[in-house]
């Protein structure tokens, strides 16, 4: 009644017969209410399946990740210092160039004379050979 009053100012709408304008496939509502229970169960099943997959993958990650980390870790075996005989037997020492060694030795000190060298030079220059022999 109230609605009819509302439409009184609109004669075009007022005179129209009110009816559902769209066609619905025959038997649609019967089949819809029959199909729906299946649809209600499926999402729950899917959710459960998703939860299971998530749980299993989490479990696998917990197991596999530490194992991978363990295998990737560099071996921490203590280094064995080579003995003198090992060095001799390896023949590596004989391959070293003496000139290279002396060059390296001198550059280690940036060319500056060592204090020990200065003392040695002083002793060589100022020591009398005969007095040294007699002392020895």
């Amino acid at each position: 009644m109230e609605q009819e009053n509302e439409l009184s100012g609109f004669p075009g709408l007022e005179t129209l017969k009110k009816q559902e304008p769209y066609k619905v496939p025959e038997g649609y509502f019967n089949s819809f209410s029959e199909r729906l229970p299946d649809l209600l169960v499926k999402p729950v099943r899917n959710q459960l399946r998703i939860r299971k997959v998530v749980l299993v993958s989490c479990g696998l990650t917990v197991i596999i990740a530490p194992a991978i980390l363990l295998f990737q870790k560099p071996e921490s075996k203590p280094l064995i210092e080579p003995s003198y005989t090992d060095l001799i037997e390896s023949g590596y020492v004989f391959e070293l160039d003496e000139a290279l060694l002396s060059d390296e030795y001198s550059t280690m000190f940036h060319g500056a004379p060592r204090e020990n060298d200065m003392i040695e030079d002083y002793l060589i220059e100022n020591t009398d050979e005969t007095s040294l022999k007699s002392q020895l």
């Binding site: 509302e6 439409l7 009110k18 304008p21 769209y22 066609k23 819809f32 729906l36 209600l40 999402p43």
Partner: protein
Amino acid sequence: MTQFSDQELLEQLRSRDHNPHYAFNLLVKKYQQRLYAHIRRMVIEHDDTNDLLQNTFIKIWEHLGEFREESQLYTWMYRIATNECLGFLRQKKKRFFLPIGDVEGELLQRLEKNLSPDAGKIEKKLQEAIIRLPEKQRIVFNLRYYDEMPYETMSQVLNTSAGALKASYHHAARKIEKYLTGN
């Protein structure tokens, strides 16, 4: 078949003594036609309506536990259905980068093949006029004109004041009248 009230159906759905699926089936049977018609008037195509009606009932089923009875059950169900429709239309605009007018155009194109064989020229014209309304006005007009929903109830569905809805319905009716009479 006994027609249960919403309150009785709710009690059966929540009670451990009853099979909730059976009670829900009764609820579906009670409201499927009304919700179908509400959705169909918004999206026009039957297949889209079928998908949205399914989603609506699935959401109702999933969220029944959260329903606090601050509104009537059927108001709450209408709200879910309306939100589904609006979401669907928005997605359509986004997916195809369509301006609002083009969605209207698409709905108008679909109109002819979806109309009931009983629908005459004037009925077709009425539907064209409704589709041309802005989204919100279209919902308000359909709920009032076809479902004869009181404004107070509609305000719970659309979360808008009854006064604003009354004004919106009046604007919509005026536009439709103009389209029908050509004035």
